[in-house]
Amino acid sequence: MFHPGDWDTGMAEDPYKVLGVPRDATPDAIKQAYRKLARQHHPDLNPGKPMAEARFKEASAAHDLLSDPEQRARFDRGEIDAAGQEQRPPSSYRRHAEAAQGARYGDAAHEDTFEDLFAEIFAARRAAEAAPRRGDDATYKLAVPFLSAVQGATERLTLPDGRVLDLKIPPGVVSGSVLRLRGKGEPGRNGGPDGDALIELEVGTHPELRREGMDLHKDLSVSLRDAVLGGAVLVSTPSGTVRVTLPPHTDTGHLIRLRGKGVAAHAGNPAGDLILSIRVVIGPPDAALEAFLRDWRPAPVEKPENAPEPGAKAAP
């Protein structure tokens, strides 16, 4: 590619030499010399000849200087040099004419209009393709296990093109949450930045746990004996097994709140709770229990046909 700057040294040449005129040339002789060079070297009339543009600029600069009597006198007295001149703006009709927009002045008699139309479209597309362009965002779906959404996790995502992304899942995400990985989308073109990967999460379910906001709910089966007499039971939670002490007379529907055992704390949100809902189970057949119940005459209670209210303690 031709850079006008390559010829800067030529700009500082003696303007008389550039135009090929003696130092005492008349203004008219200077003008004629310039016109002769311009006819020969005008860049718009010499596309594809970079030397022509350089010569023309040189001649224009020389002419600009010498055609102004005051500037010429100052140059002759050595007050200014040839490089001190303002230069004529580089002629650039050629650059436009050779590009797609040049079709504006296409010669209709010599050009197939439709071909030209397509040429324009293709040229515009090539120009667009050559410009830096940010890569597209790529959208993916990722199934996230229930516990990963509760505790936070790093899930590995293999993209269709084989790339592997390790995605940090913050605690508390829900189905439909979108994570953005900067620069992990489609590659940018011509130096443009890469797009982002947008990953939509689909949180799975859990056989024992249910989520409500930051809290988790779980049914806890307890034996009749533990329910009546109280006792310690082991409860598995997302963050490990904990020992829970049941008070005596813990009936079905009783709720036990384990603080901080729900969705993990994240980004200023405190951790949720794990809420255990007690379910008393009778257990396998037991001859001793049956024998006891045959002889057992419990004290009458009000509304024996009603299940206890959730959360209510066993009736005294």
């Binding site: 311009a38 718009d44 004419a97």
Partner: protein
């Protein structure tokens, strides 16, 4: 995209009457939007070329259409060539 006033301010040697004649003859092809002429960069440079042809190269106004037609043909061919080369640079560029 510039207006007629800005174009005239940019070329001190440009006479509005000359410009109107050139537009009428199709030498310069600005767009008309809302009753106003709008000049793209290529139109501005086209005007500069025509001024150069007339004032510097002393192309007579009667010869102007011939010269412009030849210029247009050269550029049409060069665009075509560039297209056939699949966008690769032409010699000398």
């Amino acid at each position: 995209m510039i207006t007629l006033d800005i174009l005239l301010a940019r070329f001190t040697t440009l006479d509005p009457g000359d410009l109107h004649r050139w537009i009428a003859q199709g030498f310069v092809r600005p767009e008309v939007t809302g009753g106003e002429l709008r000049f793209e960069e290529i139109d501005v440079e086209r005007v500069r070329l025509i001024l150069d042809l007339r004032d510097v190269l002393e192309v007579d106004e009667t010869a102007l259409p011939v010269v412009l037609s030849l210029v247009d043909q050269v550029y049409a061919l060069r665009r075509r060539l560039r297209q056939l080369e699949g966008g690769s640079r032409l010699g000398g560029e």
